[in-house]
Every structure is written in C-alpha cells, then in structure tokens.
C-alpha cells in the first residue's frame, strides 16, 4: 500500500461526505471552467474584432450624413494637418461621386416628385457619418447590384411599384459609387485587391484610368482596356478589384484629382483615411487627430460599433475572468476547509503515523494527494457541468452586458459616402454589435478545459498545503490522547 493508495482510500473513507464535498467542489469548478471557456471565447473574438477594426481612422466633414451630406468639405490643408499628427503613418484623401446610369437617370428625372432617392445605406434610417453630399454624375455603366429587392423596397417606400427584371422600370438602377483615391486603398482604408490588370499608378495625378469592381465589370461586359464614360468623358478600365462584397464590387475607383475634377471641387476631400502606426496608438491618435482638426470641422471615427462591441466584449471578458478567479478561489477554499477539518478529525491517526516513524513530508503528501483526489473528482463532474453550461453562461453574460450597445449601435460608417459600401444595419458584414456577439461561440475546447483543470489542481495543492503543514505540528504523543 502506497501513500497514493492510502490517500485514495482515505478520500473514500466517508462516502457520503465525499459525495457532498465532490458535489460542492464540482459546482465551483464547473463554474470556474465555464467562466474560463467564456473568457477564452470572448478573448478570441475581441482579438478578431480588433484585427478587423485595424489601425485605420476615417475623417469625415463635421456634420456630414451619408450621401445627404452636409458640413464643410475637407481640404488638402487638413490632410497635411492630419499627416503631422504623431503616430499617423499615412493619410489618404478620397473624393466620392455618385454615378447613375445615364438612361436610367433621364427616365427617373422624368418621374414626378422623385427626388433624392436615398442611397442603400440610408435604408435603415441610420446611415453612418458620411461625407458631404456626393455629387451625382451620369455614366454609361449599369449597376451590378441586383436592384430587384433593394429597388423594390425603395420604390414601395416611395409608393410606387417596381417589378424585378423588366426594363420598363428604369428607376431600378442603383447608384454606383465612384471614389477618387489618393492611394491604392478602398474607402475603408484597406489595400485594394486587384485581381486583373494593374493599378492606376500615380494616384495624385489626373488620369483616364479606372479600377472597376469585378461584378460591375462583368455586368457591363468590360475587361481590361475597355472604355466607359462618366459625364461623357471616356475612361479606360486599367484593373479589376475584388472587395469581397457585392456592394464593394459595385464601385469604381479613379485617382483623386480625376474625381475632384469630375465633381468640380478641386482640392476638396470627401473624407480622409488615416492609418495609425500601431494598434496601441489608435485611441490616442484618434483623440489627437480630432483635436488637431477641430470638432467643428471634422469627425474622426473608427469602426464605431466594432469599438463598442469590443469594449462590451472586453467587459464580458473581464467579468468572466474575475468570475473564473472567484470560482477557482472558492474551490480552493472548499478544499482548504475540508482538509483542515479532516486533519483535525484524524489528529490521533496522524499521531499514530508519527509514532511509528512516518516523516512529516509523507503525512503531508498523503493529505495533499487526498485533496487532489477530491479535486480530480470535482473536476471530472465540474467539467461535465461546464461543457453543458458554458454556452449558456457565455451568452447570458454577453446579452446582459451588451443590450445597451446593440440598441444604440449605428450602421457601420461606410467610409466616404456613408452607406455606399454597405447595406445599412440590416445584416451587412458589420451590421450590428448583436450580430458580432452572437457569433461568439463558447465551445469548451479541450485545451482550455485542461488549462482550467490544471489551475484547479494548482489551487487544490495550495489549499491542501495549509492543512498538510498543520499535520507537521501534530505531535506523536497525540496517539495516547483519548478520542
């Protein structure tokens, strides 16, 4: 019979009590593990969100609201000011135009009272903070986005009926966003993914080259070298890009001066895309940039609902971590108290072991091992509890912490031009915090559970160490004391 065998035997000496202790331990350990799982899942999500928010800030004219616009346009001078802010690594100016199919526009103008049809971004009534009113120009291009659904909805809202797929309904054509860019990035600051052809070369000079979204080019049967017109001027397709979304691909990019000339607003910018040198500096730089440009002149934003999502997730992460530590501490405390009780109860027996020559460390080890047996049983049951409960606990934590966030969440600020790139808050890739949060899956990964159980054992050892050291103080003469 070894120390370990004795410890296991002792752990089951009083079966009813062992069962009770294991049950209580299992609840604490199960809670700890569930919290750890939630913490890990949320932590992973936070990282993912942070990475997607990236280091890009968007500067829009103060007071601007989507295509409906407003506010003083930004200037090249402000771009220089922004570039001078510490930690800013790049400033890219953009100038946004709204293109309508020439034929459709003509037909639409003919329709009575049909003015200012809201852009798709305006559908939810919560457009992101956009640039100033984007000038609408005519083009030979036809929008690639299926106007059937969106167009219908717009028109129903306007009290007209639209039928999908009939050319008799010219109003079904949607605007195409043309953005003049000062560098080869899209209107959210991401580098353009050019899949065919080449970029525009010098983005600070006027040129007749243009980059088309893949679906837009396909819709219009355009390939590299094909031409199309904007306001009767001819442009050549020099490259195709894939933005990854239908709306993102229903777009045209030209160089910044080209767009400014087309809009008749040389030197003015719809927005600026500011890249910060590191993730850690984003918050500070955002504040510095805002004060450098003035709150009355410019709005500096970072993927806002992402930010609030991240901060509410962060608080869930913190809460779950604190709860993990607390539950872990509780498990340790339970073990400590049980073991202190056992040591007191077996005082005489410890005296016997000492009287027949057991070294203190052997007796201490026996009690630590006994505590670990209890911890192991508690962990086994606790892990089972956690695997059932962690999903529910995580979502309960998240929903109770983010209800306020989700109701106030605005549509993703789609860079210049408000909702130009995204269909508002109704299910776009960054549609709302709620959607992000519901994608947090608190599945109990074996690694995390194993780590949690290791922590439980660590705490169990610490909890058992105190009573084990108490045994060292028991003198062998206890053996002669009556029970």
């Amino acid at each position: 019979m070894s120390v370990l065998a004795r410890s296991v035997g002792n752990a089951f000496r009083n079966k009813v009590r062992t069962a009770a202790v294991v049950a209580v331990l299992a609840v604490a350990i199960g809670l700890a593990l569930a919290m750890l799982v939630a913490n890990q899942a949320v932590g992973a999500k936070v990282q993912e969100l942070n990475a997607s928010v990236g280091t890009v800030l968007t500067v829009n004219p103060a007071g601007g609201q989507g295509f409906e616009g407003g506010g003083e346009p930004l200037t090249a001078g402000q771009a220089a000011t922004a570039a001078a802010v510490p930690n800013v690594s790049a400033v890219v100016g953009t100038s946004t135009l709204r293109l309508r199919n020439a034929a459709a526009a003509a037909a639409q103008t003919a329709q009575a009272g049909q003015t200012g049809q809201p852009g798709p971004g305006g559908q939810t009534g919560q457009a992101g903070p956009g640039g100033q009113a984007a000038p609408t120009l005519t083009t030979s291009l036809t929008a690639a986005v299926d106007a059937g659904t969106l167009g219908n909805r717009n028109q129903q809202a306007n009290g007209t009926t639209g039928s999908t797929g009939t050319t008799q309904q010219p109003v079904r054509s949607l605007p195409i966003t043309a953005t003049g860019i000062g560098a080869e990035v899209d209107n959210t600051g991401k580098a353009l993914n050019i899949t065919q052809g080449s970029g525009l070369g010098d983005y600070s000079a006027a040129s007749t080259g243009a980059l088309l979204g893949t679906t837009l080019a396909e819709k219009n049967n355009l390939t590299i070298g094909s031409t199309f017109t904007i306001n009767d001027q001819t442009y050549t397709v020099s490259g195709l890009f894939d933005a990854g979304t239908a709306f993102g691909n229903n777009a045209v990019y030209v160089t910044l001066p080209t767009a400014q000339t087309l809009a008749g607003t040389p030197g003015e910018l719809s927005s600026m895309i500011v890249t910060v040198n590191s993730m850690d500096n984003v918050a500070a730089t955002k504040a510095a940039l805002q004060s450098a440009l003035g709150t009355d002149k410019a709005d500096v934003t970072q993927g806002q609902n992402l930010q609030t999502a991240v901060s509410s997730l962060d608080s869930v992460k913190n809460i779950s971590f604190i709860a993990f530590i607390a539950a872990l501490g509780t498990a340790g405390l339970i073990i400590l108290l049980i073991m202190v009780m056992l040591v007191r109860e077996r005082r005489r027996e410890i005296g016997v072991l000492k009287a027949i020559g057991a070294p203190n460390r052997t007796i201490g080890l026996q009690f630590v091992l006994e505590a670990l047996v209890l911890a192991a049983l508690g962990s086994a049951v606790g892990a089972a509890i956690a695997s059932f409960a962690s999903g529910g606990i995580a979502s309960a934590l998240i929903s109770s912490n983010t209800t306020t966030t989700t109701t106030t969440g605005r549509g993703f600020p789609g860079g210049a031009g408000g909702g130009g790139g995204f269909p508002g808050g109704q299910g776009g890739p960054f549609g709302g915090a709620s959607q992000l949060l519901s994608s947090v899956t608190a599945s109990a990964s074996p690694g995390v559970i194993a780590g949690g159980i290791a922590a439980v054992f660590g705490v169990a050892i610490i909890g058992a160490l105190v009573p084990a050291l108490l045994t060292a103080r028991i003198r062998p003469i206890e053996v002669l004391r009556g029970e």
């Binding site: 016997v352 203190n360 003469i477």
Partner: protein
Amino acid sequence: MIEVKNLVRTFKSGDRTIKPVNDVSFELEQGTLASIVGKSGSGKSTLLSLLGALDKPTGGDVVVDGVSLASLPDSKLTEYRRRDIGFVFQQFNLIPNLSAVDNVMLPMEFAGLRKADRLQRARDLLEQVQLDPSKHERRINRLSGGEQQRVAIARALANEPKLILADEPTGNLDEQTGDHIIELLSSLSRNHNTTILVVTHDRVLANKTDRRFRLQQGKLTEEPVRGRAVAATA
C-alpha cells in the same frame, strides 16, 4: 543499552501539577526483557512514551547507545522511532480503514522497504502472532480486540527494532495466546538481542521477565523476579 537519567514528566491539570514520572533513573542492557508494573494512573504509559520519544520529558534524559534523545532534532527522533523502536500501544492505535497486513506494512513503507518484501514480512509477522491468515486482509475495525492487539504487536516488530515498548500487550488475550506472545517476546530478546520493556498487570508475565520494575508515585523501584533479589537502581 538504554540509560534513563533523572527523567521527569509533569502535567498541569487545572491548578494542580501531577508528576507521574518524577526523577526516574535506570539502565537496561541490550537484550533484556523487563517489565513495569504499577497501579492504574501511576504513569507507566507516560514513562514508555518518553522512552519511545513520543513525548518530551520535563526534565532528565534518555540515552540510547550513547545518544541523548534530548539532543536530537525532531527529524532524528522520527528516525529513532521508525528504526529503533517498536511500540505496542495500550489502545493498539492501528489505522482503522486499513487491513491487518497494510497496518503491519506501514512502518516498513516508511523505512523504504520494497513492496514485495514488506508484504512477505508482514504475513510472516502476522503468522508469528498467530493471526489467522483469513484475517490478514481484513480491515482493522472488523477485527476483535485480541486480534487487533496481535496486529499491533506484529506492527511493532516490523522494522526489527532494538527496543520494543509494549503497553499491556497481553491485556486482551486469552491465557494461551497471551503465553504465546510472552514466548515470542522472550525469544526475541534471547535470539535477536532485542531489548523489551513490557508494561503489564499480569503477574505471570511479570515473573517471566529478566527484570521487574514498579512505578509508584512517580518513582521507579526494581523488584526481585523469580525469587532473585536485585538491588533497586531507582
């Protein structure tokens, strides 16, 4: 050789001080079988616990083969108890949830004996104390008092100690089994040169020992055995 020098152990009970061991001195040659008799509460168990280093004296010293127990640190006292002492407790003090064999193996485990050797020796010892082999694996709390007593004796012999301190080892045994235990102890002292100090109320046992002491009011006096007069050393 065990030398007891002016040993004192006092207890405070309320405002009274009791002195069950009050200036006790004697010597035992290695291999001696000796007995201590005395009234209940006279301090026999107290004296034994001091010799076995279970307790520390209020005064005086016990010197074993030239080594003073008073000078030893606790770790050395533990080693002394493990290697040199075999204690048979008046209350047996076996571990109740372990089997007879496991109890006997415990001191050997602490001494670092290999498991197979421990088991073999434990079975041999249990046979020597005449515990029925069918009861070797039985848990202590399912054994009778006399059976437990024999397991306790077997455990005391486990590490072949130099000194066996037995507190009423035959108290719960029938005459025949008691005689056998006495025979076992005296053969150990004769053949293995083991020093044995037995506390007993049993006149027959006391008269079969080489020397006999009486503890009375804290003082130890030697009494003659088998008609042989021996000078008291107390």
